[in-house]
Each structure stands twice: as C-alpha cells, then as structure tokens.
C-alpha cells in the first residue's frame, strides 16, 4: 500500500497516518487488560492459581507490570500553517516540515527538503541506526535544490512512498511539487534523500524535511520489533515442576477421592454418629475428591510467586546498588530495568556483543607509525612522543613530511575554528580524526578548508594546497586518494591511504615493501588498525588526461560505481609507499580480562558488528576474542552468490568438525551478505555451525540480522545475552534472553531497551558471575524450599486423612494453614537472598564454577526429587512422632495439630539453617526470631477465648512431653540429612564444596587464584608451582593435575576449548533432557 504525504497540508490528510508518538511499551490502555491477562495466564502456575481461586472463590489479584512510558516531550521546530512553531516531538504528523539544527536528533523519518549547504548536502551520523560511526552525506532532491528557506515554509506537494518497512538501506519514493513551485515533474527519491529517525545532524547548520514515517512506523521503529515477555529458564523450570506437582496432586486427589468414597459407602454408613444421609445429591461422588483437592491445594505454594517476585526485585536492587559496578568516569551506576530475570544472568551460555562502543571506547588514537622502513613509537608505545620522529620532523626529512602531509590532508575532514581559537575537526570516520589530530601534534596543522583550498601550518610556515579530485573510499577499493596541487610549486600529487592489501601491490616496480608488510603484521598483532600511506607525483598531462576519464565516469548513470572504480584504478598505481600508521581503537578497560574470565566460565562469545571485516578481526584479536595465527584459526565464510556461500559454509563446517579434536581456537567470520544468504537458504547448516562454534565474528550485519542470530541460538536452547550500546543493537537486545545495554557514547537507546544497563563492558563479569550466579543459587533454593515446606504440610494432611476415615478432615486449623505459608515459613527463607555460597573473590578466581548454574545443577528434576523426598521423610517423622507421642487420652485434635505444626516449624528452621552457607545477623534474626515469633503468635491466639486454640499453646508448653516430642522430631528429622550432607561434603565433595572448604580454611586456593587475575605475569611460574604441589599428593591425582586450568593455560588454550566443548554438549544435552521431562 502506498502512502501519500501531503507537504504542509494542514487539512484532514494529516490524520490519515499516526502521529509521532513513540511507544516502547508493551501495553496500551486498551490492550493492557487482555494482553497482560493472556501473558499471566500463559504461565501454568497462574492457571493453576486461577483454578484454585475459582474453587475457593477467593479474589486473586495478579501482579501487573507497570506500563512504562517514554518521554516524547522533546521540542522540535515544525511548520504549521506556514509559521515555524515549536511543538513536542510526539505531535509531529506525516507531511509536516521539520526543521533541525546542527547536532539535533532526527525525530522521525524525513525526506530532506533543504539544508544550509549551497549544494544541498548535509551530514548525518547514523550510528544509532546501523552502528556505523562515519558520517554520511544526504542530499536534497534535485527539484528542491537551492530553494529559499522562506519558500520552503510554504512549499506544497506530495510524496509517494511505500508502506513502512524496516529496511534502513532502501527507500523508493517519488516527489511531486504542486504548482506554483515547479511543474508536475515527478522526482525520484532514494535513501540518499532521507533523514532517518534517531540519526544526528552533523556539520550542517540546519536542515529541513518532510515527515514521511512517524512514531513506531519509522524505519527504526519497525525494526525495533515488539518485545516478547521474557521468561527465565528458572521460571520455566519452576513452571514445569509445578506442572509435575499438579499431576501428582491430581493423582493423589483421585486416589484419595476414590478411597474416600469407598470408605464412605462401606464404613461410614455404619458409623451412625456421622449420620450420612441415605440419598445424597447428584454430585455426591464429587464432594470428597473436591474436598481433597482443596486440602491438597497447598501442595503448590501460592506464596512462591510472591516470594519470588519479592526476592527478584531485591536482586535487581542489589545490582542497582552495587558500588563496584559504578562507572567512575561518568558516574553511571548499573541498573536493572527488568527485575524478573536475574537468575538467567547466571545461566548465560552465549554472549553476543556489539563491537564499537561496547568492546571499544569508540575513541581512536594514533599510536605508531613506520615511515620508509623506520619504525617509530615502539619503545614508548606512542609515536607522538618518539624523539626520533620529532627530530626527523625538525630536520625536515622529506619522507616524514610527506607522510605527515597525507595524514593531515589525505582525507575529507573539515576543520572548524572555535571561538577561543582552537581548531576542532569534523571527520567522517574516527580514524581520519585521529590522523589529523596526530598530524597537528606533530607540527603539521590542518587549519582550514575553504572550497578547494586547504591551508596547512607546518613549523610556522603556511602551505596551501588545492584539491583537484577526491577519490572516495569504498569498501571494494579499500583505499581513498586525493589529487592535490601544491600552490607554491604547482606540482600535482596523488596522495593515497588505505588498507595494506589495497596499497602495497600498487607500489612501483622495485620498491621494497617487505618492511611495510612486517610493520603491518606487527601492528595488527598488537590489535592496531593499520593504514598504508603512498604518494606519487603526477605529470600535468597525465592528470588532465585522467581527469577527463574520471569526470565522465562520475557523470554516468549506469554502473557508476564500477566506472569510477575503474577510473581510479587508472591513476592509482606505481606508488611510492611512504609508511604505515597504526591507530588504536581504544579498547575499554578490562575487556580482554572480562572476555577471558567469562570464557573460563564456559560462556561463548559472538561478535556482531556493523563494522568492516578486518577491523572486526583486529579488535577481536586485541581483546582475546580470538587467538592469533598459530593457536587460533579463522575460517571465513564469504561469497556473493548462493553457491559460493554454500560451498564456503560447507568447507568451514567440515574444518570445524575436524578441528574440534585439535587444540585450536577456531572461529568463523561471516559478513552481512553471506549471512543473509546463509540464513535464507542454508539455515540448518548455519545452525549446525553455530552449535559447533564457540567464537564467531559477524561483520557488516544489520540490526535485524543481529536479532536473527540471537534467534538461531535461542532456537538451539541456549541462553543468550546480547550486549550493545547503540540503537542498532536494540532488536538484538530485545530478542535475547537477556539484553544488556551500555549507557555509552551512542546514546541511551540500547540501555533503555535493555533489561540491564551498565556503564562499561567489564562490569559484565560482575553482573554474571556475582549477581547472576547468586540470584540463580538463591532462587533455586527458595523455590525448591517453598515446594518442600508446602509438600511437608500437605503430606501430613494426607497421612492424617488415613486415620480420619478418608473424609478430608484438615489436621490444621485454617489460621495455622494460612500463617504457615505466608508467615512462619516465608520469612526465614526470604533472607536466603543474603546467602552467599562462595565469596565474590572465589567466584571471580574460579569462574568455572558458573557451570553449575549454566547446567541448572541446583534446580532440576533431580534436585527437586531430593527436596520432595525430604519433605516426605519429614512428614513421616513429624506425623509418626506426634501421633505416637500423643496417643489415647492426649489425642486431642487441637493439641495434636499444634504439636505437628510446631514440629514442622522447628524442622523448617533447621532445614534453612543447614542449607544456608553464610550467616549474617539478619539470617539469625530471621530464622530464630521466626521461631520465637511462632510461639509468640500462638500464645496470642491461645489467649483469645473465642478462638479454637484457646489455652492450647500454654497447656502444651507446660508439658515436658511436648518439648520431648519436638526435640525428638528435630533430631530424627535432621540427623540423617545432616549425616548425609556431612558425608557428601567430606567424602564426595562437589567442586562447589571444595571451593567452600578451601575458602573457609584459607587454604592454598588464594595463592592459586591470583594466577588467573594476572595471567600475563605469572604464566611462567604456573607450571613449576603446580608440579611442586603435585609431589606431595597421592599419585592418583597427578595426571589430572596436569590438566588443571592453570597449567593448561601455559600449554595452550586448546585444552580449555575442547573441554568446554564437551562440557557444553553435556550441559545442553542435560538441559534438553530436563526440558523434555
């Protein structure tokens, strides 16, 4: 369906399309109720509670997610009724003309109508949209070219454009202006004529455009997608367990129901005092089963939902509060927007990360260079401080000066003088910015670019150059050149810079390029971005001849790009190579360490970036993402056609399968094109590859491809975490199980859409290893414990029904039942949010322990069976002991009920105590205070004459037999469990136990642990240390010790790799099995 945007039409056509309100919320006023209810009741547990609520006719209020609103109140200039007005961004309608000033954010998708530039150009920064940091030029459509700003306010016309879509690289529209402006010529529009939402206007004083897509219908809005409600693996598991318990409950209810009906018909009719009526109502057979259903409804603890929500919000608070996750530079604390998914952090298996701004600071700095074979900056790591270079400049070495000249003017940078005289550079790419800045520091100051004249100050002299041609950078040519004429000498030079593979082959015959190749090699191993510099003097004839060809190529309509490339080829040859520059895209602090630590924790990393392939690979190298050649291996998947991609994919897959047994770090690299084809036609092969590969680099990918990759990993049942900082990461962040946004330079978009926002990439370690892990552990305990305590009470009720004629009598009174769930048992367990099984330091030193969380070892059907068994055992203990201790004349209903209840309360206090790893004062208060509170509360109940419990508790507490019964219950209930735990803890310790023991004994673990925090320095000491230790140990463990993580490091990371491969398989198999169950 086409849409027509009527320019400056204030009539009814405006209301055809939606306004510019952007909603990032899941709910609107209208759909809140049905949508939220649907989401709530798609969870089994809630369905169950609904059922129970209907049975009991209790009003159950489901917790609701607050609908979040976005600030749409930013003010923009818009033409209304021919007058410029300041209105709120959300009130922009399709067809409005929006005026933007420099550095404004584009509020909606616009078609450019006019700019301050005479040629109708303007620069936009699209990083928030596609992640590319260089500036892009946008051009006014030809019909509007050169129109007067005043006229623009009155312009009328119609723009024909396609329905909103998510393609940010394509726009096919038509513009037709109404008379009197121009005649009825239809003017085609392309993406070049648009300003897309969330881009920034740069280097242009003002620009104006017609709104074509607004609100959530913009290209960005369409590609944002609708976030699904996120459900953690733990929640899914709890749901599954709830389902299992529900089935168990139905079986119990059916068995007891049948038994009750049988007993009623055989025995109860004889028990005259019960006075069963001879003829019951039609539903009589259902009465006893339903009674048991109500009796057993406590089997699934209603309090678990409340408790979980409570503790989850506390986990989120702990993240918000964490001092160690505050970015000191910008004073940004971490923030958990989504409070419900902290456990998932501890179960992450794949991290998909953006590159620019996430791993790097997005700040480029010139570090080293190699000029005609001399390498500068290697000692100090900073060429700007290299005295040799400085003296070479002073002495006026021609090569060095030439090199600096290219640095200063071989670009499209625009210098701007600020008010205080300082020169600011506006560069399309941060690399060029870094080069110009560095040149300025080396005395070659690029001062001014006015029209075609460039002005440079060098050592106090002013030099003027005239730009004759600019041969722009394209990713195919991988180089850019300028043709300049030195004004003083009238000499014409071709100045070129570009990638080594694009420059070095073009050197003139006879030039030795070996030193440059070596320099490039050396720099890329350091993770620096390299550029080669070359020049050639052009004879005027040669230039003039060529410039004709170039001009012609520039004006062709068919295959223009190819023709231009061909024309450039004609002149870019026989270079004299000058040197190589090395630029550091400054990595954020601690990125390599973070990646290494998380790798050790068994997490796989994928890098998804909109950037170029070699940049991505270089950054990957520099942050430990992939290993350099001998150890690591990069497998490229490329190709432009289906066949090529298919072949390449199969080859990589084969290599990957072969090398899984080799100690090698294998990673695959794929670019956006190939990815598109692979995802479309070879999804299965690609999925196989995704499962095999621990590391992948995907470059030049679009936001929706990022999201698709997340989707693929999710479909393989992996827990994914996506981290990014720009608007182009939003979809991926929303798609992933956990989205983490870095509140960085590219704005807060990602941080807003994310579940967690952090200031720096390195906080990810803490977020996952500390907060995620603790959250998982705590929730695992809390949820299973909630089931345990409910089952305990329920089993007692079931047992009691066997001695009460299977009639469904409740042993406990309603007050006790209610208080048991919401008060007596929930408070002690709530303080388990303070429990730490291992200290933060230990976890950081042994990130491998995260495996327990990833594989779901603390919450799965097996552990749950343990808790189920424990509750059964405890129910037997409590029931048998209280029944036998309170026989005959003592078997009064209220008394027995309180004895059994006290037994349960005492047991649960001890169970919590035993399962707690670290006791803070709050835990003691909660556990023992709860016990005291239990008695206080029951004394209070016992003091009220009208209550059924009147005097019961006083009476009981006065009897020695009561206390003997309780102590017996505790000893009999806890003794075996305690003994079992001790035995396991000491003789069959898990890794977790060993770490706990070591940590608390202050043993050698700490000395071992430091190795991992300073991998570089201690690597050499590792093997001797381990060997000396192994001498004192029994020989059984010796071969194993050689494979300990520390020694493996020095033998090569292959072992780790392989090990984790198998581990991953194990874990995924395991979790899949669990899920099947």
């Amino acid at each position: 369906m086409k849409r027509y945007a009527y320019i400056n039409d204030d009539g009814p056509s405006q209301d055809l399309y939606r306004d510019n309100r952007i909603s990032n919320t899941k709910y609107t006023v209208l759909n809140f109720l049905p949508k939220n209810l649907w989401e709530q009741f798609s969870r089994f547990m809630n369905q169950y509670f609904l059922l129970i609520a209907c049975l009991q006719l209790w009003p159950l209020i489901t917790p609701v997610n607050p609908a979040s609103t976005w600030a749409n109140e930013r003010e923009v200039w818009v033409v209304e009724n021919g007058i410029k007005k300041l209105i709120q961004a959300q009130d922009i309608r399709v067809g409005n003309i929006v005026w933007l000033r420099e550095n404004d954010e584009v509020p909606c998708d616009l078609v450019l109508m006019g700019t301050s530039d005479a040629q109708g150009l303007c620069c936009v920064e699209t990083s928030a949209l596609d992640g590319e940091t260089d500036l892009k030029t946008r051009v006014v459509p030809p019909v509007c070219m050169g129109m007067d700003p005043v006229l623009l306010q009155k312009i009328k016309g119609v723009i024909e454009c396609p329905s909103p879509d998510r393609d940010i690289r394509r726009f096919d529209g038509n513009l037709r202006l109404f008379p009197p402006f121009i005649d009825n010529d239809v003017c085609p529009l392309t993406i070049k004529n648009t300003l897309l939402q969330s881009c920034y206007l740069r280097n242009t004083e003002w620009a104006c455009g017609v709104a074509i897509y607004t609100g959530n219908e913009t290209k960005l809005g369409m590609s944002r997608g609708v976030p699904e409600p996120k459900l953690t693996a733990v929640d899914a598991m709890i749901d599954k367990l709830t389902g299992a318990i529900f089935i168990f409950q139905v079986v119990v209810v059916m068995v007891l129901g049948v038994a009750g009906n049988v007993w009623k018909d055989t025995e109860a009719r004889k028990q005259w005092y019960v006075k069963y009526p001879d003829e019951g109502p039609w539903y009589e057979l259902l009465v006893i089963p339903l009674r048991f259903e109500l009796l057993c409804s406590i089997m699934i603890p209603i309090s678990i939902k409340v408790s979980l929500d409570l503790v989850k919000s506390l986990y989120a608070k702990f993240i918000d509060w964490d001092e160690k996750m505050i970015d000191r530079e910008t004073v940004t604390p971490a923030h958990a927007t989504n409070t419900a998914i902290s456990e998932d952090l501890g179960q992450v298996e794949y991290i998909l990360t953006d590159k620019t701004g996430t791993l790097t600071e997005n700040k480029m700095i010139f570090r080293r260079c190699c000029i005609s074979g001399v390498i500068y900056g290697n000692e100090s790591g900073d060429a700007l401080k290299d005295t040799e270079l400085l003296s070479a400049i002073e002495t006026g070495s021609p090569d060095v000066i030439r090199f600096l000249t290219i640095m200063a003017i071989g670009n499209t940078v625009i210098p701007v003088k600020s008010k205080n005289g300082a020169i600011l550079y506006k560069a399309q790419s941060p690399d060029e910015d870094a080069l110009v800045q560095a040149a300025a520091k080396l005395q070659m100051i690029f001062v001014d670019r006015s029209a075609n004249i460039l002005e440079i100050w060098f050592n106090g002299r002013t030099i003027h150059y005239k730009v004759l041609e600019t041969l722009e950078f394209t990713s195919d040519r991988k180089r850019m050149s300028v043709v300049v004429k030195e004004n003083d000498t009238e000499k014409i030079f071709l100045l070129t810079k570009g990638a080594d593979e694009a420059i070095l082959p073009c050197a003139y015959a006879g030039q030795q390029t070996r030193t440059f190749t070596e320099a490039v090699e050396q720099y890329s191993q350091l993770g620096l971005r390299t550029l080669c510099f070359a020049w050639r003097e052009l004879m005027p004839d040669e230039y003039h001849e060529w410039s004709l060809v170039f001009k012609e190529a520039n004006s062709t309509l068919v295959d223009r790009e190819w023709r231009i490339a061909e024309a450039c080829q004609r002149i870019e040859h026989d270079f004299e190579i000058l040197g190589v520059s090395a630029i550091e895209d400054h990595l954020q602090d601690g990125v390599p360490e973070t990646i290494e630590t998380l790798r050790k924790a068994g997490i796989n990393f994928w890098m998804l970036t909109g950037d170029k392939q070699n940049t991505a690979v270089q950054i990957a190298l520099s942050c430990n993402f992939i290993s350099p050649e001998p150890k690591g291996q990069l497998l490229m998947i490329d190709g432009k056609t289906e066949d090529e991609v298919c072949r390449s994919l199969e080859r990589v897959l084969l290599t990957m399968r072969i090398t899984t047994s080799e100690p090698k770090d294998v990673a695959f690299v794929i670019d956006g094109w190939a990815l598109e084809i692979a995802l479309k036609h070879y999804k299965k092969a690609f999925t196989d590859l995704a499962i095999l590969s621990r590391t992948a680099i995907c470059c030049r990918v679009t936001p929706s491809q990022k999201a698709q990759l997340v989707q693929i990993l999710k479909s393989c049942d992996y827990r994914t975490l996506a981290i990014g900082d720009g608007g182009n990461d939003v979809r991926m962040i929303q798609q992933a199980d956990i989205g983490v946004g870095i509140s960085g330079r590219e704005g807060l978009q990602a941080a807003r859409a994310a579940d967690y926002s952090i200031g720096k990439f390195r906080f990810l370690t803490r977020l996952i290893l500390v907060h995620g892990r603790y959250s998982y552990n705590r929730t695992a305990f809390l949820s299973q414990y909630s089931f345990y305590k409910s089952l305990l009470l329920c089993f007692i009720q079931i047992f009691f029904s066997f001695v009460s004629g299977v009639s469904g009598t409740s042993l406990f009174n309603s007050v006790s039942l209610m208080a048991y769930n919401v008060f007596y048992t929930s408070i002690p367990v709530l303080v388990s949010v303070l429990d730490k099984d291992l200290s933060e330091e230990t976890v950081m030193q042994h990130p491998q322990i995260l495996f327990y969380c990833q594989a779901g070892r603390l919450l799965n059907p097996t552990t749950f069976a343990g808790w189920f068994g424990r509750s059964l055992f405890h129910a037997v203990v409590v029931f048998m002991i209280s029944l036998n201790a309170y026989t005959y004349e003592k078997s009064e209903m209220e008394e027995l009920s309180m004895v059994a209840l006290s037994g349960c309360i005492w047991l649960q206090a001890f169970v919590v105590t035993m399962e707690t790893n670290s006791f803070t004062i709050l835990q003691h208060v909660a556990i023992w205070g709860n016990l005291v509170a239990f008695y206080a509360l029951n004394f209070a109940f016992s003091a009220v004459p009208s209550s059924g419990m009147y005097t019961i508790m006083f009476r009981l507490c006065g009897q020695p037999s009561y206390w003997f019964t309780i102590f017996l219950t505790v000893a009999a209930g806890m003794g075996p469990i305690f003994a079992l735990k001790y035995f396991r803890y000491t003789y069959r310790p898990s890794k977790l136990n060993v770490l706990q023991q070591a940590e608390r004994m202050g043993g050698p673990i700490l000395s071992l642990g430091t190795i991992e925090s300073h991998p570089g320095t201690i690597e050499r000491e590792v093997s001797p240390l381990s060997i000396s230790q192994s001498k004192s140990r029994s020989p059984v463990y010796e071969p194993l010790l050689l494979d300990s993580p520390n020694t493996r490091r020095s033998f090569g990371a292959g072992g780790t790799f392989e090990f984790f491969q198998s581990q991953m398989r194990l874990s995924s198999l395991y979790s899949r099995n669990c899920k099947d169950n």
Partner: protein
Amino acid sequence: MENTDTSTSTVRRNSKRPRYSKFTQQELPACKPILTPRWVISAFMLISIVFIPIGVAALFASRDVVEIVDRYDSECIPANETDKVKYIQTPGEKSCNRTLTVPKRMKPPIFVYYQLDNFYQNHRRYVKSRNDQQLRDSKEANSVSGCKPEDFNNGSVIVPCGLIAWSLFNDTYSLSRNNITLNVSKKDISWKSDREHKFGKDVYPKNFQSGGLIGGGILDPNIPLSEQEDLIVWMRTAALPNFRKLYGKMEVELQENDVIDVTLGNNYNTYSFNGKKKLVLSTTSWLGGKNDFLGIAYLTVGGLCFFLAMAFTVVYLVKPRQLGDPSYLSWNRNPGWR
C-alpha cells in the same frame, strides 16, 4: 529517542547513585561454618549423650505408670443375644458386671477412662458439627450453623446442637472394692478453660435427644452446660480413631491384687461399626500416661547418633581427607561433576 543533555544526565545519575551500606553491597559480616569432622562428630556425640539419659528417664516414667485395661463391649452382651445392635438399641437397663484385678499398687490420683476404638471423632462430617457460639452464650441459642443434621427438632432449636453432642457417650461405671463403693469424682474432669469460657453458665440443654432418633447420652436440662462435664470432655474431639476420655478421678490408693468390681451400664452403641469399648484405670507420671514410645524413640535416636559418631570417627581416622584439597578442583575431571 530522547536527546538527553549530557550534563543534566550526569547530575541525574549522580543523584541516583546509591548510598553505601554493607547491606546494599551484600557485604554484611557473615559467619560461614563448614562441616569439619570434629564439629560433626561432636554434634552427634552430644545428641547421643543428651538423648540416651532422657530416653531412659522417659522409659522409667512410662513403666511406673500402672494401667488396667478392660474391654467389655462383647462381654457385656448377654450370650443369648445374637443381634448385638438390636440389643443395644432396645431401651431399658442393660447393666453388666466386670471384675478387675490390680496388678500393682496404684497411687492416687487414679484416672478412670473410657476408651473407644474405631470411633472416628475426627471424621469431617462429625468434627465440624457443633456451634461454639451456641455453647458459650445463651443469647446465641439460635445459631446452629454447621450443626446439620442435628440442628432443629420439629422446628425448634436443639441446644447443644450438632452430631458431637448428639452422640454423647453414655455408658456408666460404678466401681467398688470389697463391696465398698469407690468414689469416682466427676468433678474437674474437663479443662478448666472449657468450663469457664467455652460452655456457658447460663446455657441449658433444650430439645436435646428429643427427636425421633436418639443418639447417645441425654443431658439434664436443668444443669447448665458449663457443669455438664461429661459433655465438655466429649466435645474435645479426639484426633485419632482410638482414644480415651476421662470418666472420673479416684483419690484412693489401690493395692496390688485388689479386686475391683465394676457395674456398668452398657448403653452406647459401638456394635454397628465393630467399635471396641474399654474401661481403663490408670495412674500418671510426669510424662503423662503409660506410653513407651518417647523412651524407646529417644533411646533409638541417641543410639543411632552414637553409632554415627563412632562410624564417622573411624572413617576419619582410617581415611583422613583434607578439606578444600585443591586437587579436587581440576576442572578437567570429567565427567565426575556432582
């Protein structure tokens, strides 16, 4: 989407910066106990040292209690009666004589109980069939909710209503030794709190057992409920199908081999459901009646703990195991994950 000015956002974030406390940083000082062998073994030792003496004491206390149990339900049916149910449901005097021999000297107070077996006072229909308001307050005589089907009799309210009261136990015992009647006091056999707060002093039985079907005992309509102690005792429902309820107390000492003659009125119908009726005479100890369970259980648990302590000690000595041995930490010990 939002063009946030950097400086203002910094200010905003600044104010959001959390205040430091040990709680918010999860750094509260914590005690982290570990299960060292010494600790565990001494814990088990301690339990056994405490439990075994208690068990012995409890067992002695239970053995000190002298108890005479006499089942009389079948013996008190004349031999020529074939239909026991019909016999018990026929109105009239159904007295019966029993002889008990005292096995051991019984010191006062001696408690006289009746014991019913297979009687489900805890049945759901039964246990709720009462109305506490009505029992407590004369003004609430009309509240009979929950009392069905014993709530109204020909349209007039029954006090006390409900199945429990309706099925009041009504066998009677009179005990004599050497033809001298033993005084069985029926006073203070119920809980004081029940008499004072649960059963009203001004609530009198009304229309009780006057319907077509008579359940159990009848009540004197001139005595307030708070003094009908048999009813009060009966209405403390038992949690188990076998239970004893206090019939009365004797303040006499019975010597060994004393012969006690019991004349009992056998009125209560347990025959239709094969329930047993027993007469129990028992003394009491500090731990209550005769019940070996606590003593035996304490001895068992104490013994087991002692055994565990010993076993752990032996294992500890024979196969010492260093806690936190880092050799167990090699992450490659596949697949022995636990």
